[in-house]
């Protein structure tokens, strides 16, 4: 019945014209001060001049543009409707091609630094992509799986980065010693944030997490004795290859280059860092894939879906949420440690809100809860602005347009269908 109605309901020409006229009226209102009037320099004086033809052209463009746009949208909707009708019931079967694509990407990421060994820029960019992939996966636990909108995720990234920076500069800890400690610290901060916000959902939670992210940043800026304030912390020890530093040959001990009998090259470290974050990211992926199959992962998704039902089934919603916050934060902390180790210098500048927004955009664009979507979205969000460098000031415009297009084309994110965590063997369909 409803589909029948939807098919026969077409917008009449008068409706279309009315709609376009409305748009044209708004265009006139906006256009008079912005286009219709302009100032000219008349012998040292400013005069207001008019340019009605311009305004006319603008209004006409809006009018006909609106008509064309409406027509295009209608066509698009109609097409989608027919497609929906022909589609069979949505069955959440796993998609094998996705798996193969995943393996393909994994293979590509393994050979990437070898293929581009002479191109430091590519490896550097790929490393950045991987940092964001890891952050995206971490936030995905909180936002995608547990459904808790977190706008202050960068705080945990900062906790991880500052943990490493401080422990290594003050106490001489190395990368591997710091990693678990920083992860634990970040997880602790995750619980610290999670505890008071347990009863909040949606917008309210978003506001508190946003505030939390800012609090951490403001503390880092102002507590100069602790964090170095706006100057940040410099000369952080770089990670070494099992104790072999990436340094030019010198008298004090073996270096990576001398140990393997290689000529010293600064690319060694870049490539090593790339593989390091690749390993961390892969471990993260395995970890989350494993968790998703365990009761705790299922519980996260269940809490996202329906808290009432979770309580009725005897779940301790408090613990479920806190564990999501803690694990998400821990992964962010790991990424932070890597970030500090890679940069060698950190300051509060690196942990501003726009970072949180970027990570959230990665999760949302990728499709909430989809591990693979995060990879694609992170690649897009890092590489698009890089590609856009040639367009200088238009680059953010292109970036924004690309994001809007993705959301129009795939409102649920690039990979919006979630993979079921459990499939019974031999189930007849």
């Amino acid at each position: 019945m409803t589909t029948f109605q939807a098919r026969t309901h077409t917008v009449t020409l008068t409706e279309r014209l009315k709609d376009a006229t409305n748009v044209a009226l708004i265009a006139i209102l906006l256009g008079i001060p912005m286009i219709g009037l302009h100032t000219v320099d008349a012998g040292g004086k400013l005069m207001v001049a008019t340019r009605w033809p311009w305004l006319l052209a603008f209004v006409a463009t809006m009018f006909f543009g609106r008509l064309a746009l409406q027509f295009a949208i209608d066509q698009f909707k109609l097409k989608r409707l027919t497609r929906q009708r022909t589609r069979t019931l949505e069955v959440a079967t796993p998609r094998p091609w996705l798996k193969w694509l995943g393996y393909g990407l994994l293979g590509f990421s393994l050979v990437l630094p070898i293929a581009f060994s002479d191109n430091r820029y590519v490896v550097d960019t790929a490393t950045t992509v991987l940092i964001y992939v890891m952050l995206g996966w971490g936030l995905n636990v909180v936002v995608g799986l547990a459904g808790l909108l977190d706008l202050g995720y960068v705080a945990f990234y900062a906790v991880g980065a500052y943990s490493y920076a401080l422990l290594s500069t003050q106490f001489g800890w190395n990368f591997w010693e710091t990693l678990p400690v920083a992860g634990a610290l970040a997880a602790l901060f995750g619980i610290l944030l999670g505890w008071p916000t347990l009863r909040l959902r949606g917008d309210y939670l978003a506001i508190v997490t946003l505030g939390f992210g800012e609090i951490i940043r403001v503390i880092l800026i102002n507590w100069t004795e602790f964090s170095g304030g706006p100057n940040g912390i410099g000369s952080i020890e770089r990670p070494s290859f099992f104790g072999l530093p990436f340094k030019p040959d010198s008298d004090d001990g073996a270096t990576f280059a001398s140990f393997f009998g290689l000529e010293y090259a600064s690319e060694h470290r870049v490539i090593f860092l790339y593989y390091l974050i690749l390993v961390l990211a892969l471990l993260t992926n395995l970890f989350i894939a494993r968790l998703r199959k365990l009761p705790v992962g299922l519980a996260w998704e269940a809490v996202r879906e329906d808290e009432v039902a979770c309580k009725a089934l005897g779940m301790n919603v408090t613990n479920v949420k806190l564990s999501a916050f803690a694990i998400g934060a821990m992964l962010g902390g790991f990424a932070g440690v890597f970030f500090a180790a890679r940069q060698g210098f950190i300051s509060p500048e690196s942990f501003v809100f726009s970072e949180s927004a970027t990570i959230l955009a990665i999760v949302v664009l990728g499709g909430m809860g989809s591990q693979f979507g995060v990879v694609i979205a992170a690649s897009l969000l890092v590489i698009l602005p890089e590609l856009g460098r040639d367009f200088s000031e238009y680059r953010m415009l292109l970036f924004g347009a690309a994001m809007i297009l993705i959301m129009v084309w795939k409102p649920g994110g690039l990979i919006s269908r979630r993979e079921p965590s459990k499939v019974l063997a031999g189930v007849e369909k």
Partner: protein, 238 residues
């Protein structure tokens, strides 16, 4: 098995339950009928401490549970099928069932699943489908199935017929009766659909303004003039 003794409950200043005393014996279907806002759902929710009983006691298997944590109560053998079904819409049917068994012995899982298939063959067919794409009746069956996966001692159903087509309503009540007769499941049923509920219930209570105004066997209540006047004559046309 389940005993409410003089239970009071408040929502802020609203006195929702005013001294309710009732009991559910093992192997019984006990139904609770009443108009909108009479306190039926509140009565069931106080069992889980949402809201907490402000006075009186609720005991289950001889133990006062009125101060226990919600999740401990739910794990102790009381399974609630909440009003409005509350299935996990974006998860598959199988995952929904799996959530039901999250605190029970994994060794039972396959056997329990088979039992649910036997009871609700439609769920087996839809196993990998997203639960949100099921019809209302199928979702209700999934909600019941999910609750049963926890192997409860008492199954609590809050308005299982709400928003269902007549055919499904009949089916849901048949399933409830069958569960009780075949498996000996103890059931507490909150319903607006007094006619159907009283027909399958061993005993029933009528709740009005937070108080029990009438109680008796299902048959007695069905025949009682007060019940007929208040809940049956009008609903017969609905």
């Amino acid at each position: 098995m389940l005993q409410y003794t003089d239970v009071h409950a408040h929502y802020g200043a609203i006195h929702a339950l005013r001294g309710v005393t009732l009991d559910v014996q093992e192997g019984e279907i006990v139904t609770l009928i009443g108009a909108n806002g009479a306190g039926k759902s509140t009565l069931m929710n106080t069992l889980f401490g949402k809201p907490r009983a402000s006075a009186g006691s609720i005991s289950f298997l001889g133990q006062d549970i009125s101060r226990h944590h919600t999740h401990d109560i739910a794990r102790s053998g009381l399974a609630l099928v909440p009003e409005g079904r509350h299935i996990f819409a974006r998860m598959s049917v199988l995952e929904n069932l799996q959530m039901g068994s999250i605190f029970s012995d994994p060794a039972h899982f396959d056997a329990d699943l088979q039992r649910i298939y036997g009871m609700f063959p439609i769920l087996q067919q839809r196993l990998e489908q997203r639960a949100g794409t099921l019809s209302g009746g199928e979702q209700q069956m999934l909600a019941i199935g999910r609750a049963l996966m926890s192997r409860p001692k008492v199954l609590l159903l809050d308005e299982p017929s709400l928003g269902l087509a007549p055919l499904y309503i009949k089916q849901v009540f048949n399933i409830i009766r069958e569960l009780n007769e075949r498996d000996g499941m103890t059931i507490m049923l909150v319903e607006q659909n007094a006619h159907h509920a009283l027909r399958i219930a061993h005993r029933g209570y009528v709740l009005q303004h937070g108080e029990i105004v009438l109680s008796g066997t299902g048959k007695e209540l069905l025949a009682s003039p007060e019940v007929r006047a208040a809940y049956l004559e009008s609903s017969a046309h609905a």
